[in-house]
């Protein structure tokens, strides 16, 4: 049988119902359609399916896009996909709004006036490249006095090769997880951790929230849920804020974030003293029990019980569970890294994994996913990778020199927790020689740019991702443009059939945007490089050449197969290389932490699962979470005379913001929690919570005259007003806690800064 798309889908349809659709559908008279196909609700028009990969997180779930005519109308999961079997998260659905966002930048625009004044003029791509070339040529020179500072929002195929063109460049990862990822790279030797929750019997959670946010949301959610039900897995949480995961845990031990490490050390102490530890794990990590005991001696349980507010029994219980309910895993997230001792604390928490034997390679343990394509060598980049906090704390200067700045789908002014430093950096001419932003919107960062290049969204770009599956095999997922028929683009490139452009689908929003990979290829060629990826003119050609180097795909049909299928499953490598764990433990600061004053709080910046810098302008996602009140425990609030709904001022040494108070019992009384990702000043009307006019394409519908006449009497009297598409615009879009937090140096690790958010809360 020829394995074309239709047959493949039929095969999927035959196999998938057993998993997903156990019910007998008694619809004999209705002709069943193949699994992944569907038609429009009202018109019953056929919808063209095209597989792609979701890039909202590292999981790379399979997406199926459905196109009606020119327009992608729906995204669904790809049933039978090995990663999440066609299940998606809210963000994956919501990214469709990015594609047809009326607020997108559609053509290259150039600053026409002072920086940040919002005056732009349209230019052509060629003119934009001509502007860029001399600057990039200068930056590519050795000992350039305006080297490249590359702010990367997400990793693309050509990010590393492109930065490799510029010796002396600095790569700044603009993501909340940048410090954590650096920790993974440095300590565990990989990009992402894959935790085998399905075989776990105990999970100890240090302030992580895999049920709400996570590197592999859908997969981990499924595994955790199933394991809790079928495997009697126990999930217990040590956290300052009761997250979604904490709410599902068997037990929540409220601990102020500054004591996470000490709690972990105390547990480790108990495990070592009782002999509850994996000898193999300890040996592999190059640690000795004796020296560990003396290192951790300061954090004995008596001290931790006194300071951290956890009881001796609870510590012993956790230690016992970690050992006796093996396989056990300890998980932690960005929240751990946000305190001054975060890096050391994470080491101590990782030590628990070593002691519990999670690194020993058995089922229910941790594996490290490098994320590299099979058969490819790790790219070596000359750039120094740093976090934005570090970059801005040093104010980006090397002895007063300037930078040529490129921000690629990154919004460091908004996302970096470095107070006002990023804004000052981007606004002032003397630090930034030239700033080019590649972005879909005019964001807080790109508004200071000299040149803004319209980026394509995830649904219009190419990409190839590799992901380790639970059985050890590798899933290769292809991201391909789905916004318009790919074949048409290929045809249009040929000059001979240029007249075909007459028939180009009129996709107005997509306009002249180009994906970063294409821009990188264009720029590389213009810089005179015709080696490596830069021999190719187009991204898919490069991708084709890349795919044939991966063993096992050529037999299936190469890139064409991936385009039809969306993913391919490569067999497990015979030998899985074990990762080395390089822990450097410190004694902790059990007694060195200053107790809180009466109106001091430890601020916990957390993230809702739906809003990150990419999805801020997605209307349905913003509707879900459009406000971020500051959460305070009622006990503390009573003492400060604060009632629910009051406006308070949050003050640090760095600055202050105002926010509404939400009293909640789900918080350690010493903490105040606030969501990040709200309070945009730029980035589209939904992100800014500006009302959208009734005739806006975003609402897709016109308000009829009749309704307009009568609505004043029926609807408009209410605070939420369905007639105005953005019903929350009067409530605002929340507050951004950026002014509060300031980067602090981590002496142990050059290039890593963390935040120490101690805030003072006052009424008014």
């Amino acid at each position: 049988m020829k394995l074309d798309r239709r047959n493949f889908l039929k095969l999927g349809a035959a196999g998938a119902p057993a998993l997903i659709f156990p019910d007998r559908l008694r619809l004999a008279e209705v002709q069943r359609k193949p699994w992944n196909e569907q038609s429009a609700k009202v018109t019953r028009k056929h919808r063209n399916p095209r597989p792609t990969a979701c890039t909202m997180c590292d999981n790379h779930c399979g997406l199926m896009s459905y196109r009606e005519g020119d327009r992608v109308v729906m995204l669904l999961g790809q049933t039978g996909h090995p990663v999440a079997n066609g299940k998606l998260c809210a963000r994956a659905y919501g990214q469709l709004d990015r594609l047809y966002d009326p607020d997108r930048v559609l053509t290259p625009i150039m600053r026409d006036g002072d920086r940040g004044h919002g005056k732009w003029k349209k230019i052509s791509w060629e003119a934009a490249y001509d502007l860029l070339r001399p600057r990039l040529e200068a930056a590519a020179a050795k000992d350039s006095n305006a080297p490249l500072a590359f702010f990367a929002g997400r990793d693309e195929l050509l990010t590393e090769p492109f930065i490799g063109l510029f010796p002396g460049a600095a790569r700044i990862d603009c993501h909340r997880s940048a410090v954590r990822r650096r920790f993974y790279r440095q300590v565990l030797g990989g990009e992402t951790l894959r935790r085998d929750f399905r075989h776990c019997r105990f999970v100890l959670n240090f302030a992580a929230d895999p049920l709400r946010t996570g590197d592999a949301f859908v997969t981990e959610v499924q595994a955790l849920n199933e394991s809790m039900r079928d495997n009697a897995m126990h999930l217990e949480t040590v956290a300052g804020r009761l997250s979604q995961t904490g709410g599902r845990s068997r037990c929540w031990y409220p601990v102020e974030p500054r004591y996470y490490g000490d709690v972990a050390r105390a547990i480790a102490n108990i495990m070592l003293a009782e002999g509850w530890y994996s000898r193999k794990g300890l040996k592999d990590a190059g640690l000795a029990a004796g020296s560990l005991i003396s290192t951790l001696a300061a954090c004995d349980s008596a001290t931790v019980v006194r300071t951290a507010g956890i009881t001796e029994q609870q510590l012993r219980h956790l230690a016992r569970q970690l050992w006796h309910r093996r396989p056990a895993v300890v998980i932690y997230d960005d929240e751990v890294f946000q305190t001054a001792g975060g890096w050391d604390d994470a080491m101590a928490i990782e030590l628990l994994n070593v002691l519990a034997g999670a690194h020993d390679g058995g089922p229910g343990g941790i594996t490290v996913d490098s994320g590299r394509l099979p058969g490819t060598a790790p790219a070596v980049s000359a750039a120094t990778a740093v976090t934005p906090e570090w970059f801005f704390a040093g104010q980006g200067g090397r002895g007063g020199s300037t930078w040529t700045v490129m921000t690629c789908m990154a919004n460091p002014v908004f996302d970096a927790f470095a107070g006002t430093a990023p804004e000052i950096f981007f606004r002032h001419r003397q630090r930034v020689d030239f700033h080019v932003a590649i972005d879909t919107h005019i964001t807080e960062t790109s508004r200071y740019a000299d040149l803004v290049l319209p980026a394509a969204t995830e649904l219009e770009s190419w990409g190839l991702f590799s992901r380790r599956l639970e059985d050890g095999s590798t899933c290769l997922a292809l991201r391909q443009p789905v916004a318009r028929p790919t074949d048409e683009i290929l045809l249009l490139r040929k000059a001979k059939i240029k007249k075909l452009q007459l028939f180009e689908p009129s996709l107005a929003p997509v306009a002249e945007s180009r994906e970063f990979n294409q821009v990188a290829l264009d720029l590389g060629r213009r810089l005179g490089r015709i080696d490596g990826p830069f021999v190719h003119e187009y991204v898919d050609e490069y991708l084709r050449s890349l795919v044939i180097t991966i063993p096992g795909i050529a037999a299936l049909g190469g890139l064409e197969y991936l385009k039809r299928n969306g993913f391919c499953r490569l067999p497990a490598a015979t030998e899985v290389k074990r990762h080395a764990v390089g822990l450097q433990l410190t004694g902790g600061r059990a007694t060195g932490i200053k107790p809180l004053d009466s109106d001091d709080f430890v601020l916990i910046p957390f993230a809702w699962h739906v809003l990150d810098s990419q999805t801020a302008n997605c209307r349905y996602l913003a509707e879900l979470r459009h406000d971020n009140p500051v959460m305070i425990h009622p006990r503390r609030a009573r003492r400060l005379g604060i009632a629910d709904g009051d406006t308070v001022q949050l003050i640090t040494t760095n600055g202050s913001v105002k926010a509404r108070v939400w009293l909640t019992e789900t918080l350690h009384p010493g903490c105040a929690a606030m969501a990040v990702g709200h309070g945009h000043e730029c980035g589209g009307r939904v992100a800014e919570a500006q009302p959208i006019a009734e005739h806006d394409p975003m609402t897709r519908e016109l308000v009829s005259r009749k309704m307009f006449l009568f609505q004043p009497f029926t609807f408009r009297l209410r605070s939420w007003d369905p007639c105005e598409p953005l019903w929350w615009h009067r409530q605002g879009n929340g507050t951004h806690p950026n002014p509060l937090v300031t980067g602090r140096k981590l002496p142990q690790v050059p290039g890593v800064h963390v935040i120490e958010p101690l805030v003072r809360i006052r009424k008014g």
């Binding site: 879900l624 909640t664 019992e665 309704m707 009568f710 009497f713 029926t714 609807f715 009297l717 209410r718 939420w720 369905p722 019903w727």
Partner: protein, 299 residues
């Protein structure tokens, strides 16, 4: 102990327009009944109220459905669909017929009255009484059959609506007769015996109305959870000013005291004041009933 982390809003189902519709229908039904007292039942002392009553009834009843049509999403389609696709188990279906028959009957009745044809006036007046009762009883009935809302879903609702219709109708008649007699007659002489009789009737009807409200609320307060919630909300919550003070104290109790006290009743100014207070009170009662029923979230 607990609080909501995430919940959605819900549209207000019935709005101000429905309150106005109820109010106009009530006024119409009340004034029609006063009109038929003399022409239909032969109480001769009410004869001067007959013609003005029927004119007010017809005009208000032509106005009332306009509010209704503005409330529905598709006004013209709604008129058509109500008759074409009628659903016999829906109370609103009968409303559509009543809202057509009752004004027609009132107009015919009025025409005969103005022609002086006593026989046919009496005939159509007698038909008109049950129609007037049902056209307003039906508005209460609609709310009562909105089964989801405990505040509405009571068998007393049609009766409460009838009585409030009659009190507001009588108050309006008192005002209209006084205005007509004072401004539009040559003698400028107000028909005081008629006014005082109407006032006395108003007083007793108000007493019955207040008893019905009392009885409704005592049941609500002892009934199931949601009924208790809504009763507390109306009596002590954010609706209490409108409900307790404006509707019941200003709109019903004070006018009742005025009209049942002979000394106060003799004073025309105070009587006018009482009638106006009562009319405002009943308007507020319509608003309070429509919104109070929907105030407590169901889910």
């Amino acid at each position: 102990m607990g609080q909501i982390v995430y919940d959605v809003h819900y549209q207000t189902t019935l709005a101000f327009l429905i309150s106005f519709y109820f109010y106009c229908t009530g006024l119409s039904a009340g004034s029609f009944m006063i009109s038929t007292l003399s022409y239909g039942f032969g109480f001769e002392q009410f004869k001067p109220a007959g013609k003005i009553g029927v004119v007010a009834a017809v005009l208000l009843l032509l106005l009332a459905p306009q509010f209704l049509l503005m409330q529905v999403g598709w006004p013209i389609k709604s008129v058509w669909n109500h008759f074409v696709y009628l659903n016999p188990v829906s109370s609103m279906t009968y409303g559509a017929f009543l809202l057509c028959l009752y004004p027609l009957n009132s107009i015919v009745y009025g025409i005969f009255m103005f022609q002086g044809n006593k026989k046919w006036t009496k005939f159509f007046g007698t038909i008109g009484i049950p129609l007037a009762l049902s056209v307003h009883g039906y508005t209460g009935w609609i709310l009562a059959l909105g089964v989801a809302r405990d505040y509405w879903n009571t068998a007393l609702m049609p009766t409460v609506f009838l009585f409030s219709a009659m009190v507001s109708g009588i108050s309006m008649m008192i005002l209209l007769i006084m205005i007509r007699d004072y401004f539009f007659t040559a003698s400028r002489e107000i028909n005081l015996p008629l006014i005082r009789t109407l006032a006395k009737i108003l007083g007793w009807l108000l007493a019955v109305d207040l008893f019905l409200v009392f009885s409704d609320y005592t049941v609500l307060l002892y009934s199931k959870l949601e009924a208790q919630e809504v009763a507390h909300f109306m009596l002590f919550g954010r609706m209490s000013f409108l409900f307790v003070v404006m509707e019941n104290l200003v709109g019903k109790v004070i006018p009742m005291i005025i009209v049942l006290t002979p000394r106060l009743r003799e004073n025309n100014t105070i009587l006018v004041l009482a009638a106006i207070m009562n009319m405002i009170g009943i308007l507020i009662m319509r608003v309070v009933t429509v919104y109070g029923g929907q105030a407590i979230p169901l889910m």
